[in-house]
Subunit: 333 residues, 2 copies
Amino acid sequence: VAKVPTECVIGVDLGGTNLKAGLVEGSLAVRARVERVIAGLGREELLDALADAVAQLRESAEVEVEAVGLGIAGLIDSDSGVVASSTHLPIAGVAIAEVLSERVGLAVLADNDANVALLAEVRDGAAAGEHVALIVALGTGVGGAIAFDGEIYRGAHGAAGEFGHIVISPDGPACGPGCRSRGCLEAFVGGSALARDACAAAERDPAGALGQALADGRVIDGPLVTELALGGDATALAVLTTLGQWLGIGLLSLANVFDPDVIVVGGGVSAAGDLILEPARRVLAERAPTLISKHVEVRPARFGARAGMLGAAILAREAAAMTPLRRRGKVAG
Amino acid sequence: VAKVPTECVIGVDLGGTNLKAGLVEGSLAVRARVERVIAGLGREELLDALADAVAQLRESAEVEVEAVGLGIAGLIDSDSGVVASSTHLPIAGVAIAEVLSERVGLAVLADNDANVALLAEVRDGAAAGEHVALIVALGTGVGGAIAFDGEIYRGAHGAAGEFGHIVISPDGPACGPGCRSRGCLEAFVGGSALARDACAAAERDPAGALGQALADGRVIDGPLVTELALGGDATALAVLTTLGQWLGIGLLSLANVFDPDVIVVGGGVSAAGDLILEPARRVLAERAPTLISKHVEVRPARFGARAGMLGAAILAREAAAMTPLRRRGKVAG
């Protein structure tokens, strides 16, 4: 039997809006990429898009591809491998790894997107070498993940790390679609919450840069608010400061629960950097028990938009290294 | 060298008000007990009381005592063994296990009281055999602990499981003494919060049983409120229902974070049983993701007031079984 080269795996980040796939080396260098918008696709179209992306990267590879890793915006039941829920993807009820594996004839490992993002950070990023590491992923929604000594903790049934749904204000705003609760962390610090709060602030301050952007018909989103805050607009800055304080309340609860070494903050909203991290750190410093606050570090993620793809590749590579992979889908855990 | 019998250890629960110590067999039967009020004692008096209790039990033992386990109402820095903070005990800054070990000439293992209470529940109580188990201990304050596959998780520096200080309402009431935050879970569901809310309810409803108890000069505390609620007083019942709903908000956050198999609810306030557990379960059922809510069980603790003493004994016994104990204090972890 010829030895199968293990240098290349395919990592796929299946978000609510985009599919990002890459042919990834052991060094985490990306040899080839495929990216496409998948918002609005139905279930079969989505599975076709996934299989096509894998096939395309496989053709471009000069070595054999051993496995595929998949990070998805959703919860996977670790008992059955079936996607239990996904806010933006029409794949609830699908044993996603198994189905994709059958289509592409490769072993497929699937996990929650925040789990794979943290895997990338603990292996080679902002949480490398830490015993207790958390990630809070501030995307449109808010995800989270937990790693103990470099191993992702997935909970009793695969649903752990849903930090976006820690309740920080029980009568607060309704959360994102698919959530039955309200006043969740996500309803205060996710991308949708940021856009909502920035629009309201723009209306209250029509003369400011944010207000003018609204009047000019620009889309009020995280990147714009960050740009204007960095440019000195007080209203935009206040919106981010408030978001950072709410983030701090969430991190405070997580710090009291886990006594972590590091909390990594990632996701698109985290591009605001210290504009949100500094207010969050202040809340921790002021409110947490000293034994916790003197140790815990809040760090920006190293891997930005590539975190999901790279983490998914690491997931596949480590599974391949540990055990000869059958051509069958698996859920990590 | 004569073989040291391992049948008996001493377990000590050092709470804010009482010291409870027992000579405990492997079956968890308690051969002898010492109990005394320690509220108001200074540091040296407290250490004397501890050493006296151990000496007294040791004299009563027919076999050699191998080790002492100690559960304390406070956080112990796992790096140094020093008590980092304790709301009600004057032992911050003391390497409590080491100091007691020197006094009594026995190995002493020390840990947080909620950690040892959960240890008792996972070994022989409401969480036996569960992979992911949490305890929320509703005493005067609110403690918590985490066990993965029967092992207590202590965090990076010994401070994990501070569930009482999850923020559930950022502008809520100030928390207990020693806490720099506000709106913590403890400020809504601890014994002090219950007494506060019950007094306020009694004032609003002077004709009710609770109001009459207040007028009669009775102490309005958890046991009284539970007694009156069980007797049919609507106001007392409403106070407990509200407390149960707040508890549910806290458990919801914990469920989203850990995806646990079981959450054990213990501590004095939990004597209200389903009067608080049912409202809490309803919040979980209504608000948690289905993958979590269909699995997680909320159970009353098996061990009530004895949980700390028995858990401390288990801590000592297991350490003794694992490794020959030197006569030196150790922090579990």
